[in-house]
């Protein structure tokens, strides 16, 4: 392998020719990777390229089928997470691995709590240390409170504190920034840089290329479980990296097709869920992509859940096609033609153990057969049609959804909702954790759907995506709408100002400009609010 | 030695009851004079009988003891004996056992029913197949068996316990009954007669305050006893017509330091209660000899199998060392009156 100039000495950790197979999936096919002290090493690749598998190997969770792990040049067998930790490897996993009912400090120190001289847990010491750690991350989280109920970002920060507390020689981070806000990301990066100066070797997995180019010294690209290239950041550009990742040239990332915007399909006024969001109102029209931007925790998902009937609302009204509706369950939402692609693919989007086909047809099963019986022929045909249309990469409709890569899983979820032929489709972070190639595909699909007249509410934390894809952008901050921008008027800066709540007073109208479609009943300042 | 059959220790005149007639003391339907020790069946009837006992449950010491008598009889006749049954008293399981025994084509089924009606169809089916059916201890519907070996009639059993309690308390005070499961048929029959006995003149001051159920479970019986003491501070006596209940109640009284203060009587087995009789927690309790019950039931079944009797009124047969018995009303064979155990005589028994 090509050692890069400027990397002194031996690597702290080295993976040599490691391979890993899960059933039919060859997750890693003999890859090499070396981490040197004092470097931040990026690992990129499409969904399912094998990044997390490699991370788990370093964490002692998986053992390689072939090849070996070397630490300080000597081959070792990492028998379990404990062993990896003892050898100085700390890992922040892609999905938070916390204990919801234990307090924050215990979460950080679980399995290695400080003890007093009787061997008891030294609670005070523990609280003090964790307080210090979180302070260094610039967050205020009560270390005595349970993790349950913390926002996702805070949970991620607890994860980070946990890894930092190990004072490890190697720090592996699998998409640590996926749910962090820009400020938190900045702070994390500052810490990463400090650790680099101290000689820690860092492996950084992310789909956000701008972060990688801002932070990392070297980049390794995986494709389909194989090593493609390792090079200093200076020798690569985002474009070339993407090309290496997907193995082909990429068309436009945000292919927005022009669409004819029609009448209002979904009208929302004064939507309030106490303590979560307040007074949300907007109109969504045929053929329109309405972006909903905000920092993590702004309450966008909550709004979507309410519109989909997954949560109850305390006040507010919703009209579909001009008729007031009460959406009390996802089934009602489905009946009114509202579909929802949730942000939590694994928990909410898919029945992971179901095959692709059964996932696609799950919402429409009652319509498919006659007298309650299943019509397997129709079911297969329909599932096949959508799998085909969305170009799901799979060995067949029988493949379990769990065996698909993240991007393909997302396509299955999309296919599931397209099969219901919705009027309104709510997409919640449809491209989070999805590689660039698939992302472009998803964008193209969304764009084409809008062009065919579907009304789309696109929730995303990725500003470029929102700006490029949306006809209009709504911005939320701490549970309130703080801005509405037309496609032309929306630029990065103004949207961010709204999203961080700096625009606070009156700079933007909390309600959309009153469109007088559907009789104009709802124009002007509306009698919205609590009732 | 084997227990005597006559009611010793209870003299007629000591009852609280003041009425002359009354349902009073049990008729002394005692066996005829001792006869030939060898049984009536075996020799004259070809192959030795294969007789199965199906008690309410096979874990109850009472039935285990009775099985000993049956085995003794089997050995005398040269017949086969087996005891099968549910681990806990369950009518439904007994039905299955009856059916299984029917399949196995035993010569006779001797059953103590958990439910008089539950077993009827299956027992009738068994009789249709030519199997002799005898009930003992707890009867089934009359048409579902050929004979019922009654340890002592319900009336006698019920009344004698009240009579003992009356005597122990000098005919006055609050008493409670601690029964087995609320659904136990023979318990309920006895309790009816207890109530009836308490109606008689002379018992005006003996007040039954409650009937509780210990489910034949040591823990439940124990806890219930203790709670009774709190709920009824003036409680003077407890009657527990079940061997599990009386033992648990005795244990509870001793643990609470109320032994002798609150009188306890009922039905129990000498071995299980010996310690309490010796410590004075129980002065007297009643029972018949379960060994003899099993013994007689086996002989009755054997006599039915070899055709000596058919279960008709007035038929007589020999029951080994117990002598000769006569079939009474509706196929009933009465072992004899209950027996009262106390500190003086308990040493003579080992079952």
């Amino acid at each position: 392998m090509d050692h890069v100039a400027g990397q002194p000495g031996t690597p702290v950790v080295e993976l040599v020719g490691v391979a890993k197979r899960f059933g039919a999936v060859q997750a890693l096919r003999g890859v090499d990777l070396a981490l040197f002290p004092g470097e931040v090493h990026a690992l990129v690749g499409e969904n399912g390229a094998g990044k997390s598998t490699l991370v788990k190997m370093l964490a002692g969770v998986h053992r390689p089928d072939l090849g070996e792990v070397r630490i300080d040049g000597a081959a070792v067998s990492l028998g379990g997470p404990l062993e990896a930790r003892d050898r100085g490897i700390a890992v922040i996993h892609q999905h938070p691995t916390l204990f919801p009912d234990l307090d924050v400090a215990e979460n950080v120190f679980m399995g290695r709590q400080p003890r007093d001289r009787f061997g008891r847990v030294a609670w005070r010491t523990m609280y003090r240390e964790v307080d210090g750690l979180l302070a260094s991350l610039g967050v205020r989280i009560d270390v005595r409170g349970p993790v349950r109920g913390l926002a996702v970002a805070d949970q991620q920060l607890v994860e980070i504190a946990k890894a930092l507390s190990l004072n490890a020689r190697v720090l592996v981070m699998d998409e640590p920034t996926a749910s962090l806000s820009a400020r938190e990301v900045d702070r994390l990066f500052a810490i990463v840089r400090r650790l680099r100066e101290r000689g820690v070797a860092l492996l950084f997995v992310s789909h956000r290329l701008e972060e990688i180019f801002a932070l990392c010294d070297r980049i390794t690209v995986f494709r389909d479980g194989a090593h493609v290239v390792t090079a200093p950041t200076s020798e690569l550009t985002p474009e070339s990296t993407i090309r290496q990742m997907v193995g082909r040239r990429l068309e436009a990332l945000f292919p927005k097709e022009p669409a004819e915007i029609g009448e209002v399909v979904l009208r929302v006024r004064g939507l309030t869920r106490t303590g979560v969001f307040r007074d949300i109102g907007f109109d969504l029209r045929r053929g329109e992509i309405l972006g909903l931007f905000g920092l993590v925790g702004a309450g966008r998902t909550e709004v979507a859940r309410v519109l989909f009937g997954a949560d109850r609302v305390d006040a507010g009204e919703v009209w579909v096609d001009g008729a007031a509706v009460a959406i009390d369950s996802p089934t009602t939402a489905l009946r009114h033609g509202i579909g929802y692609v949730p942000e939590d693919r694994h928990g909410q989007g898919l029945v992971l153990d179901f095959p692709i086909g059964a996932n696609v047809t799950l919402p429409i099963l009652p319509r498919l057969g006659r007298r309650g019986l299943l019509d397997r022929g129709r079911e297969r045909a329909l599932a096949g049609e959508y799998a085909q249309r969305l170009q799901v990469k799979a060995s067949g409709l029988d493949q379990a959804a769990s065996a698909l890569s993240g991007g393909n899983q997302q396509k299955v979820v999309l296919g599931k909702w397209l099969a219901t032929e919705p009027k309104v489709l709510i997409l919640d972070e449809p491209t989070r954790g999805i590689d660039v190639g698939t992302k472009a595909e998803v964008h193209r699909i969304v764009s084409r759907l809008a062009a065919r007249g579907m009304a789309i509410l696109l929730i995303s934390s990725e500003l470029p995506e929102v700006l490029a894809m949306s006809d209009r952008v709504l911005v939320m901050h701490e549970g309130r709408l703080t801005g509405t921008f037309d496609r032309g008027a929306a630029d990065q800066e103004r949207v961010m100002v709204a999203a961080t709540g700096q625009a606070a007073a009156g700079a933007v109208a909390p309600q959309p400009p009153a469109p007088s479609i559907g009789g104009g009943v709802l124009s002007g300042s509306l009698p919205v609010g609590d009732r | 030695g084997h227990g005597p059959v006559a009611a010793r220790g209870l003299a007629q005149g000591e009852d609280c009851a003041t009425d002359a007639a009354g349902g009073g003391s049990p008729a002394a339907a005692s066996p005829a004079a001792a006869a030939s020790p060898a049984g009536g069946g075996g020799e004259n009837g070809g192959t030795p009988p294969n007789i199965a006992f199906l008690p309410k449950d096979v874990e109850n010491d009472y039935f285990v003891t009775a099985a000993g008598g049956a085995e003794e009889a089997a050995a005398e006749i040269g017949g086969e004996f087996q005891q099968v049954g549910p681990a806990t008293a369950s009518a439904a399981e007994q039905v299955t056992y009856v059916q299984t025994l029917t399949q196995q084509e035993v010569d006779a089924i001797v059953v103590s029913a958990n439910d008089p009606d539950a077993l009827s169809p299956s027992l009738q089916a068994a009789m249709d197949q030519g199997i002799a059916v005898v009930s003992y201890d707890s009867d089934v519907a009359a048409e579902a068996r050929m004979a019922f070996v009654n340890q002592a009639n319900s009336e006698a059993i019920g009344r004698i316990q009240v009579q003992i309690m009356g005597r122990l308390l000098g005919c006055e005070g609050e008493i409670a009954i601690l029964s087995a499961a609320s659904t136990a048929t023979n318990q309920n029959a006895w309790i009816e007669f207890m109530r009836d006995e308490l109606e008689r003149p002379g018992y005006e001051n003996l007040e039954l305050v409650t009937v509780e159920y210990g489910d034949d479970d040591a823990q439940v019986s124990y806890d219930t006893t203790v709670e009774l003491l709190t709920a009824y501070p003036d409680l003077r006596g407890i009657i527990s017509p079940t061997s599990v209940g009386i033992a648990a109640a005795a244990q509870a009284l001793e643990a609470e330091g109320r032994g002798g203060d609150v009188q306890l009587t009922g039905l129990g087995l000498p071995n299980a209660l010996r310690a309490y009789v010796e410590s004075g927690t129980i002065e007297e309790f009643a029972l018949w000899n379960p060994v003899d019950l099993g013994y007689l039931a086996y002989y009755t079944a054997a006599a039915l199998v070899d055709g000596t009797i058919t279960g008709a009124l007035g038929e007589t047969f020999e029951a080994g060392r117990l002598g000769s018995y006569t079939i009474g009303e509706s196929g009933e064979v009465l072992l004899g009156p209950p027996f009262v155990f106390n500190a003086e005589n308990i040493g003579e028994f080992d079952f």
Binding site: A310, L350, L374, R376, R380, G384, Q388, D398 | A87, D115
Partner: protein, 353 residues
């Protein structure tokens, strides 16, 4: 490469067909083994009348096992079935004793059973309490109500046609009437679980209640009706039981719930939901009934029968597990140790309502 539309069938169960076949094959082997043992050790085993005995004694449990299978597939459990049975039996008894026509008593019992199920269902779906806890409470409650209704009484003297139904067989065939009833119910449940969208949704609920809810599956409603079905059929089993032992008592069928759950689990239904088939459960019922029958015919007492059933239950899971583990040990990522009772904590979130 994209998925060809004509790809192989959409599997109806959330489980690899191979694993499924293995399980059911295992049960068939067990069944054949038990039959062979019975034929070898008892001259009466293969008689028609013995089948009648074997079948009739197990029908109440079999009837309750049908909805229980669906309940467990949906990652819930109903421990109150035996108590519901007892309560239904008590209702029949009280009604009959009060001079109501028997058919009316039966209808009333079924309604009460449905009501019992509805109470379970409401507590589980409305409040989001774990079904294990709810039905543990109603286990005591319903049994207690039965004993309040009947007290120390037992009601019997049921008409001949009724007890004949519980006890007798179709003339000349040895096939018990109750078996006919069960077979009819089985057919219905087979269609519901394996041939209808409701069944598919139940598997989805069992595997991931959250994902099912977000796929517009009416999780709470389905679960509610599932409990109602369970209660109703438990009541029906109560009627059958009453007929078979021609007696209503407060303690009828105490402890049956564990036998029913054991049969369902031995049938290969995962306690975590989402896996298992009715075919497996029926096979498991047959295995248990046959094994008990063979042992009973050989005069093996109930205690050893219970040991056998318990051991079968453990071995049926342990055996395949050990076999699978031997070659796969190295793969790491073993399933989380002992996840026990049904679904994950969040599972009842679907009940939000």
């Amino acid at each position: 490469m994209s998925a060809p539309p004509a790809a192989p069938v959409v599997r109806r169960r959330g489980v690899a067909p191979g694993a499924l076949l293995r399980w059911e094959a295992l049960l068939v082997v067990l069944l054949l083994g038990a039959v062979a043992l019975g034929a070898a050790t008892s001259p009466v085993f293969l008689r028609g009348s013995n089948f009648s005995l074997l079948a009739s004694g197990t029908m109440e449990k079999a009837i309750m096992a049908l909805p229980m299978t669906l309940v467990v597939v949906a990652a819930e459990i109903d421990l109150s079935v035996a108590s519901t049975l007892g309560l239904a039996s008590a209702v029949v008894g009280v009604g009959w004793a009060a001079g109501m026509p028997l058919w009316l008593c039966i209808v009333a019992a079924l309604l009460v059973g449905a009501l019992c199920g509805a109470v379970n269902g409401l507590l589980v779906t409305r409040l989001g309490l774990p079904s294990l806890v709810v039905t543990l409470g109603t286990l005591a409650l319903y049994r207690g109500l039965a004993s309040v209704l009947l007290g120390a009484e037992a009601v019997s003297d049921y008409p001949g046609w009724f007890t004949g139904f519980g006890f007798g067989a179709i003339p000349g065939t040895g096939v018990p009437w109750t078996f006919v009833l069960f077979a009819a119910l089985l057919a219905v449940f087979l269609v519901v679980l394996h041939g209808s969208w409701v069944g598919r949704q139940l598997y989805a609920i069992g595997l991931s209640p959250e994902a099912a809810r977000f796929s517009a599956v009416r999780v709470a409603r389905l679960k509610f009706w599932l409990f109602v079905a369970s209660g109703t059929l438990a009541a029906l089993a109560g009627v059958v039981f009453t007929a078979r032992i021609s007696s209503s008592r407060a303690d009828n069928a105490v402890g049956f719930e564990l036998d029913v759950v054991a049969a369902v689990l031995l049938g290969g239904v995962s306690i975590f939901g989402g896996r298992g088939t009715l075919v497996g459960v029926v096979l498991s019922l047959a295995v248990i009934a046959t094994v008990r029958n063979v042992l009973a015919l050989n005069n093996v007492g109930a205690e050893l029968q219970n040991i056998t059933v318990g051991a079968l239950l453990i071995l049926s899971v342990l055996g395949p597990n050990l076999a699978r583990r031997l070659p796969r040990r190295r793969l790491g990522a073993p399933s989380a140790p002992g996840r026990s009772a049904a679904p994950a904590p969040g599972s009842s979130a679907g009940a939000g309502g």
